[in-house]
């Protein structure tokens, strides 16, 4: 007997809001988290704007001990710990270094790279023949699984504790892997999420590929323009999102708050065939990922009320919309509502799937659709496919039963997850 899986906790560190309450208010009002960064300009970046969450030194001390913060230089681990601890507490669990080991709870927390700034520090020291001066903090902050290692110890989790990495699909993939694990009865609950650091060393390669916008350095808040005719590349973002997934029976037994149910989903790859490359999607595989997710969730495409797209604000947005219309066999006025959180927070790369999933689940729980900011001029190719009113520019109060969320990543990898409102 397969288990039903629900979401019982949320945590988020986003450029437009840190903490569930701030983030919820931000996405409702369409608050941009994109600002100008002088250090990007000084290093010669074409794109000098980005989304960086506001985390004070006092806030760090609420989550990490002074000892953990000694020689600490990894924003991805910091954001992951904050979001993860918040989600765990939100689900009704206490965080106590002396808590007993819990074999029924695990963790999948993804990342693109781990502490890239810490890695830079280490490289400089080694090149300077100071390898012994690395001390004990280098390995744990630079290993890819740094985030899951920190969180697993802080929370005392005894089921699977791991880190996944699949570029911009990472967070959504983490969710689906944990979903399968709970569904198949291998664990009662899993903390899942993903994190991406605020670092010019993470963003530089994208700037070099000219996929980030260089046209909005004077107007940062207008820079991230998914689905817009004047979209000119993505704006880099950073942060972390975290969700607690749990079997329905465990959630009911604990009388936990249930945010939404995970009905199903799909993860696949286009194999870099049929038009897919290291950096571009095979559209046939994208469509198959969506249709297979719908099959897995045992719903009809017509039941989808809202899509939270990948929609990065590059020239590929209209192709994504086309893929959705084909996969759902819905277009024009019959297309569901669609939005992209990237208009508000930029493209949070490895963290995007998790932060956007948190935003998706909040929309279901509170029954609203957050606005697509900056999409004042919908791309004509998109208007050929779907009606303009399907792209809300203002927050809408609406009954949302089923939401489809997709993420696509470099390496031609895809993930689509189906969330449903939980009704007792």
């Amino acid at each position: 007997m397969k288990k039903r899986v629900v979401i019982t906790g949320l945590g988020v560190v986003a450029p437009n809001g840190v903490g569930l309450k701030n983030f919820t208010n931000a996405i409702k009002s369409g608050k941009s988290g994109i600002t100008f960064h002088q250090n990007l300009k000084e290093k010669g970046f074409s794109c000098c704007i980005g989304g960086i969450p506001d985390v004070s030194e006092e806030k760090k001390l609420e989550y990490l001990t002074p000892l953990q913060l000694r020689g600490f230089n990894s924003t991805s681990i910091l954001y992951g710990c904050i979001a993860g601890i918040d989600a765990w507490k939100d689900a009704g669990f206490s965080v106590d270094q002396k808590s007993s080991l819990d074999y029924d709870s695990g963790l999948i927390f993804g990342a693109g790279t781990s502490g890239i700034e810490k890695f830079r520090e280490a490289i400089y020291k080694i090149d300077d023949q100071q390898v012994r001066r690395l001390g004990s903090t280098s390995v744990v902050q630079t290993m890819a699984s740094g985030i899951s290692a920190y969180l697993g110890g802080i929370l005392g989790l005894g089921n699977q504790v791991t880190t996944n990495s699949s570029a911009c699909t990472t967070g959504t993939e983490a969710l689906l892997m944990a979903f399968e694990r709970i569904k198949n009865g291998k664990t009662k609950r899993m903390l899942v999420g993903s994190s991406s650091d605020s670092s010019l060393y993470t963003w530089g390669g994208f700037d070099a590929m000219r996929v980030m916008t260089y046209k909005h350095n004077e107007t940062p808040e207008k820079g991230s323009r998914p689905m817009s005719a004047t979209a000119s590349g993505f704006v880099p973002g950073s942060g972390a999102g975290a969700l607690v997934l749990e079997s329905l029976e465990s959630a009911l037994e604990r009388k936990a708050t249930i945010y939404a149910e995970v009905l199903g989903g799909n993860i696949n790859s286009g194999g870099q065939r049929n038009g897919g490359t290291l950096t571009a999607s095979n559209k046939e595989a994208v469509q198959k990922c969506i249709t297979d997710a719908i099959l897995d969730a045992s719903i009809s495409p017509n039941e989808i009320d809202l899509i939270n797209g990948h929609l990065t604000a590059t020239s590929k947005d209209s192709l994504e919309i086309e893929n959705w219309t084909k996969a759902l066999q819905r277009k024009g006025n019959n297309f569901p509502l669609i939005n992209s959180l990237k208009s508000q927070v930029g493209h949070c790369l490895a963290a995007s799937g998790a932060i956007e999933s948190v935003a998706s689940v909040i929309q279901i729980k509170e029954q609203f659709v957050f606005p697509n900011i900056n999409c004042v001029d919908v791309h004509p190719e998109i208007l050929d496919l779907i009606s303009e009113e399907k792209i809300p520019r203002r927050m809408i109060k609406k009954e949302i039963q089923i939401l489809a969320k997709a993420s696509f990543g470099f390496g031609d990898v895809n993930a689509c997850i189906i969330f449903k409102k939980y009704i007792e």
Partner: protein
């Protein structure tokens, strides 16, 4: 520098790493870092680096392996300082 002065300096160095407050209150020459102060073994290398900075000495690998108690650290510091 007297043994007592070194121990006072060492207490300041190890303070951030200790996980046993009681053991720290009773710190003495006989204190064992891992057993009495419950310092994580990985942090011993950080303490070595902090000792090097504070006392302006270089601690070689063989000496490092012996640095498990306050007493052994005091001995190593004295030895290094006198040899310089």
């Amino acid at each position: 520098m007297t043994k007592e002065e070194i121990i006072i300096k060492l207490s300041t160095i190890v303070k951030p790493y200790i996980q046993n407050e009681e053991g720290f209150k009773n710190i003495s020459e006989d204190t064992d870092f891992m057993n009495d102060l419950e310092i994580n073994s990985a942090n011993l290398v950080d303490i070595v680096l902090d000792v090097e900075d504070e006392f302006n000495i270089i601690i070689d690998n063989d000496s490092m392996d012996k640095m498990l108690t306050i007493k052994s650290v005091v001995e190593i510091i004295k030895e290094k300082q006198s040899s310089e």
